[in-house]
């Protein structure tokens, strides 16, 4: 055990000083009386302590100590905290407390309830188990609910002893029965029996430690740990597994074949990916679902409708007709299918029966019982709903007649379901169904150990009616139980008929039955096998009495020469032989009768009529008797199968040594002759007899040899049988995994369908999309193309698919640059972006195609999209043209508008001059006004045009490198003409060319300069300053005019801003000039701002970024200046 898992159940060495057993007694409703009963039978000096835990009413004072003290000489005490438990004392729980035992002391805790249930018994028994281990004894008396079961299990697990009150004596049997059902109870009995057992245990404890095997049941292998230690590791693991399974599921699988169990365990280990058995045992112990999973795995549920196609015809032919004849007409036919799994077999039998009835006029009801250990399977069977796959093998006619389609599933018709009952049933433990006409147990026995199989066969024999039929699986047999069943049909059809009489008791009780697991009282049990033998009548009893008294000595034997019945005084004729006990006729009958009997039997069997032999002499030690025997074939049974043998004595015994020669010798001569003749004959007879004897002995020797050979054959047959079962088991397991695979396959098919759908979806998109698409493989060969491709390029799949992309059409794609790019797409995972190809196609004319390609992840494929952008390009060009046309139009419009205005302005000024000279002031004033309005109009026209061009914004910017100094000079020069009053000075310089739109910058300059002149009507200087600051050219225009209100300075560059408060009339315009200027400078990446003081003038500054500093080849001076500038 050192190396294996510390699964619970191994007792730890108790570290108690003075160890004596402590008995924990749990009771609830009706338990007090039972406990008093127990105490009544216990003396004062058992050497054990008793702790009585009862579910008490929390609201009442407990009178228990007083009540108990009346019936026991022991000291009764109410439990107190820290009370040391002493031997020969009785301790009683107090209300509202949970009692614990710790190192021999009682501890009290407030009572806890789990899901509203009292679990005080469990609580105490568990602590008892831990504290006393092997010296813990748990007793569960009458009560309801299931408290105490877990406690008993704990005691059991720690090597203690468990007892429970039997159902018949308990007022409420639920609580003890629950524990009994889990198989953890060692002893079951009435209170008195429990007391006696306790006494016996106490004696054993006081003597030496109790060998546990005496108290535990014999069939459960899981209990004694000593036994476990002796087993090899593998088996030990198996035993532990079985115990865990039994603890968790309540099912004892120990009857199963070791190979099956090992294989199923390995299967689970594989499923959980656990490699060592030890680890699996831990998993089995700790994982909540594992026990269930393992249980399901062991209970292989392989079944199907009409699984063995031979079964139904066989039943219809050989079984059903006879059942109809031999059974009473009104009673329903009873059929039991143990191990029915999900019910297919049951329903198949029902269908088979109904179909059989079609050929008969009368209708017989049938009652089928389907039982299985697997509750889930039973529930499934009850529903009777099967998937289309499950019923696939059924003929359409059967489906039509016996099934209904419900929600895509096939439901068995109610008429069939009504005659089928399903129940959970443990074949190995629960009592069988009885009075059965047919018992179908296919492929159940193969999982079980041979001894268990044999027992089950006996149970089946009991369960069947006379003439009842047992149906087994193809590789199952009744083994050696030939006295119980006769085989019908061939070996391939495992059909057995019950024999009516038997030398053995018909019912042997459940297989793994023990007192602990018995579900029936002994009386019931007795009744179970007495009943069929009695068959009722008094008359028969009288007959048998008479027979016993007056009948001659007789034997009933069967075909195998086994004696079935003894009647009368058969003793003289029989003699037990030395060696193995046998009921064989020839082994029992006295030797002197053997020969005659054999011949007589032979004759009787041949003729079928009674054969009589008289005048036989039988010598028994000193006596020789004349004996007659008669062999009568029994009627009412198959001829020659059974015989009645009658022995009769024909004279009184004479001394054996009757000397013939002592007769008086009268009539000597005559007699001498006769005597001589007689002697001669006698001697001859003796010789013959001896001869015959030796022959017979020879024959018997041969016979025995044959027998031995036969036995050998039988045993090898058994070996083959078990091999066959093994194979069948494997087959079923394979079938089970096959079903799993089918499910997996179905899943895969499903996935496949989904994939197919996704593919169609993608394909539909590719086909619908209006952009031509090509899929190229790694060699840039076209794998496929979509419809848009064929339509756009007016080509066919034949001319496209599997062709090199570069060879398509007239080789228009064979452009070296494109080839390189495409070839890089796959290995380097590049994408090809917007590659433009212009080509005149023979079919579709001149086109501009935009190519985009990318790798399709996962495949070595390229998706190539070819977008025809010819139209787009055209439209863009047209749009550009329109823009240019508009620009032209604006130019012309401006020109054409200005032309007449120029004329008007000219004449106005001339008139003004004339009237001024003539001194007509009124006319001069009018003309002045007119002139002002004209200026306003001119300015408006100019600004409108500028704005329109700006807002359109789509005019290309003609950025060029130019000399800013020169532009400033030119602009200033041009402005100088417009004013006589102002001198415009230029200071500083920008030593580097700027890159910008020259005309726009000029427009800005013009605007700033004209503003400077306009807003400084009383000044005579405008300063223009050029410099380089922080990588930008800086140009400032400074005037000394009216200045700008600081509050308004930040609005200067807004649209429609005007300096309106001062001499409004003097400064016409829309106020768009600075707005436009700001827009231009911002577009060029520069900044523009104003610095101003009211009535001191304004400075407008703008910057243009100097991009790359490339010093042009110019004069030395400029270069020098540039250096100076940068150093500044």
């Amino acid at each position: 055990m050192k190396n294996t898992v510390p699964v619970d159940g191994l007792p730890q060495a108790p570290s108690l000083p003075a160890a004596f057993p402590i008995v924990g007694i749990g009771a609830s409703a009706g338990g007090l009386e039972a406990f008093r009963e127990v105490l009544r039978f216990l003396p004062a000096d058992t050497g054990m302590a008793y702790v009585f835990v009862q579910h008490l009413d929390p609201t009442h004072e407990s009178l228990l100590p007083a009540l108990l003290a009346r019936v026991t000489p022991m000291v009764v005490r109410e439990a107190n905290p820290q009370m040391v438990v002493e031997a020969n004392h009785v301790y009683v729980i107090t209300p509202n407390t949970d009692l614990h035992l710790m190192q021999g002391r009682l501890t009290l805790h407030p009572e806890t309830k789990t899901r509203g249930q009292h679990l005080s018994i469990d609580t105490f028994l568990c602590s008892l188990a831990e504290d006393r281990t092997t010296q813990a004894i748990g007793v569960l008396l009458s009560g309801m609910a299931s408290d105490g079961t877990a406690g008993l299990e704990a005691i059991k697990a720690h090597g203690g002893i468990t007892l429970a009150q039997d159902a018949s004596s308990a007022s409420y049997s639920m609580m003890p029965q629950h524990a009994i059902d889990t198989g953890c109870v060692d002893f079951i009995g009435s209170p008195e029996e429990i007391a006696r057992e306790l006494l016996r245990i106490s004696r054993q404890f006081s003597g030496q430690p109790l060998p546990k095997a005496q108290t535990t049941q014999t069939t459960t292998p899981a209990t004694p740990s000593a036994r476990e230690r002796a087993l090899p590791e593998q088996e030990q693991a198996l035993v532990q597994m079985l115990r865990l399974l039994r603890q968790k599921t309540g099912i004892d699988f120990s009857a199963y074949k070791t190979t099956t169990l090992t294989r199923r365990m390995q299967h689970r280990m594989a499923a959980l990916q656990i490699e060592s058995v030890a680890a699996y045992l831990i998993a089995l112990r700790d994982r909540p679902d594992e026990a269930h999973a393992l249980q399901q795995d062991i209970l292989i549920g392989v079944t199907s409708f009409f699984r063995d196609p031979m079964t139904c015809p066989l039943l219809t032919r050989a079984v059903f007709p006879r059942l109809l004849e031999t059974t009473s007409l009104r009673a329903p036919l009873r059929v039991w299918v143990p191990g029915c799994s999900t019910g297919e077999e049951v329903y198949s039998l029902a269908i088979c029966w109904l179909e059989f009835l079609d050929t008969y006029a009368e209708k017989r009801p049938i009652q089928l019982f389907g039982t299985d250990l697997n509750l889930q399977a039973i529930e499934y069977a009850r529903k009777g709903r099967y998937s289309p796959e499950a019923v696939a093998a059924l003929s359409p006619a059967r489906l039509e007649r016996f099934f209904q389609l419900v929600n895509g599933q096939y439901q068995i018709n109610t008429s069939i379901r009504e005659c089928c009952l399903f129940a959970r049933h443990n074949l190995l433990r629960d009592p069988p169904f009885s009075h059965l006409d047919l018992l179908s147990c296919q492929n159940v026995l193969i999982y079980l150990q041979p001894t268990v199989q044999q027992k089950l066969i006996q149970i089946f024999h009991y369960a069947l009616n006379p003439q009842g039929v047992l149906l087994l699986g193809a590789s199952e047999t009744i083994r050696t139980a030939t006295e119980l069943f006769t085989q019908e049909g061939s070996h391939k059809q495992p059909l057995y008929r019950k024999k009516t009489t038997s030398t053995r008791p018909a019912f042997v009780g459940p297989v793994s039955r023990s007192r602990a697991e018995a579900d029936t009282t002994p009386e019931e049990e007795h009744r179970m096998y007495e009943e069929p033998l009695h068959e009722g009548a008094l008359q028969k009893e009288a007959d048998s009495l008479l027979l016993d008294r007056y009948a001659p000595a007789s034997l009933v034997i069967d075909a195998e020469m086994e004696i079935c019945h003894f009647r009368g005084p058969t003793g003289p004729y029989l003699e037990p032989m030395a060696g193995k006990a046998s009921l064989n006729l020839f082994k029992m009958v006295r030797e002197s009768l053997r020969l005659e009997l054999r011949t007589a039997l032979h004759q009787a069997r041949k003729s079928g009529s009674p054969v009589k032999r008289t005048g036989l002499q039988m010598s028994d030690q000193s006596l020789v008797q004349d004996v007659a025997l008669e062999v009568i074939p029994l009627k009412g049974r198959e001829t020659g199968r059974a015989f009645l043998i009658l022995f009769t004595r024909t004279d009184t015994s004479t001394p054996a040594a009757t000397p013939l020669q002592e007769e008086p010798s009268t009539e000597r001569g005559k007699r001498d002759g006769k005597e001589r003749r007689l002697r001669q004959l006698e001697q001859e007879l003796v010789a013959k007899r001896e001869e015959m004897h030796s022959m017979i002995e020879e024959m018997e020797a041969t016979n025995e040899e044959l027998q031995a050979a036969n036995e050998e054959i039988l045993s090898s047959n058994e070996e083959l049988q078990s091999l066959n079962e093994e194979l069948e088991t494997s087959k079923e397991e394979i079938q089970a995994s096959n079903e799993e695979l089918l499910v997996v396959n179905q899943e895969l098919v499903q996935r496949n369908t989904e994939l197919q759908r996704a593919r169609l979806y993608a394909e539909a998109i590719v086909e619908t999309i209006r952009e031509p698409l090509l899929i190229l493989d790694a060699d840039l060969r076209v794998q496929s193309a979509n419809r848009a491709f064929y339509q756009s390029f007016e080509t066919t799949p034949a001319a496209t698919e599997q062709h090199q992309f570069f060879a398509l059409g007239t080789g228009q794609w064979d452009i070296p640059a494109l080839r390189t790019l495409l070839e890089e797409v796959l290995p380097q995972k590049h994408s090809l972006m917007d590659y433009e190809v212009e080509h005149t196609f023979p079919e579709i004319g001149h086109k501009i195609i935009l190519l985009n390609a990318r790798r399709i992840e996962g495949d070595a494929l390229i998706l190539l999209a070819l977008e025809d952008i010819t139209l787009r390009k055209q439209m863009e060009e047209e749009k550009q043209m329109l823009l240019e046309q508009r620009e032209d139009f604006l130019g012309i419009a401006s020109h054409e508008l200005k032309t007449p205005i120029t004329t008007i302005k000219g004449y106005t000024q001339m008139l003004q001059q004339r009237f001024t000279r003539a001194g007509d002031e009124q006319a001069t004033t009018l003309l002045n006004r007119m002139n002002t309005q004209l200026d306003k109009l001119i300015r408006l026209i100019g600004e409108l045009l500028d704005l329109t061009r700006m807002e359109a914004g789509q005019l290309p910017w003609h950025n060029v490198a130019f000399d800013l100094n020169l532009l400033v000079q030119d602009t200033v020069e041009a402005m100088a003409y417009t004013t006589e009053q102002h001198q415009i000075h230029i200071e500083g310089m920008v030593p580097l060319p700027v890159v910008a739109d020259r005309e726009r910058i000029e427009q800005v300059l013009l605007n700033l300069l004209s503003n400077a002149i306009k807003y400084s009507p009383h000044a005579d200087t405008v300063l223009v300053h050029l410099s380089v600051e922080q990588g930008s050219a800086r140009i400032s225009v400074q005037d000394f005019g009216i200045g700008i209100d600081p509050a308004k300075q930040n609005q200067l560059f807004e649209r429609f801003f005007r300096v309106s408060d001062v001499e409004h009339e003097t400064f016409p315009g829309l106020g768009l000039g600075l707005y436009i200027a700001a827009q231009i400078i911002q577009r060029q990446g520069g900044q523009i701002w104003a610095e101003s003081q009211q009535n001191a003038g304004s400075t407008f500054v703008f910057t243009i970024p100097l991009t790359l500093v490339v010093v042009p080849e110019q004069g030395q001076k400029e270069k020098h200046d540039a250096e100076k500038n940068t150093h500044r």
Partner: protein
């Protein structure tokens, strides 16, 4: 002797106005709408040429460059006139003496003309 000014302008109304304006100042003013005639102007050359840039069927700037490139007319002062706004730098391009944007103020115009009549 009166100073003579030649106006090449295809818009009659402007030409007439300018003529009146200049005659008012005492100049002898000729008008020419035919560009070819302007190019092949006969001796004696005028003292000043007022040349519109945008002419129907011809480019005033080109004429100006041509005149400035001919030895015979190289020293003839030329003032370019146009309603086109962005013509800064055109004097440098064409070699013209000055540029005047339409519409112009009379005083401004006469000052400019007087400047080249010295």
């Amino acid at each position: 002797m009166l100073k003579r000014i030649l106006i090449v302008e295809d818009d009659g109304a402007i030409a007439e106005m300018v003529q009146l304006m200049l005659q008012g100042e005492g100049y002898d003013v000729d008008m020419q709408t035919d560009v070819q005639m302007a190019l092949n102007m006969q001796e004696p050359l005028p003292d000043l040429l007022l040349l519109d840039i945008r002419l129907s069927g011809a480019d005033g700037a080109a004429i100006c460059r041509q005149l400035k490139s001919q030895e015979r007319t190289r020293h003839l002062p030329i003032i370019l006139i146009s309603a086109m706004p962005q013509t800064v730098g055109i004097t440098r391009e064409t070699g013209a003496e000055a540029f005047l944007a339409k519409p112009f103020a009379m005083q401004e115009f006469l000052t400019l003309v007087a400047h080249y009549m010295k």
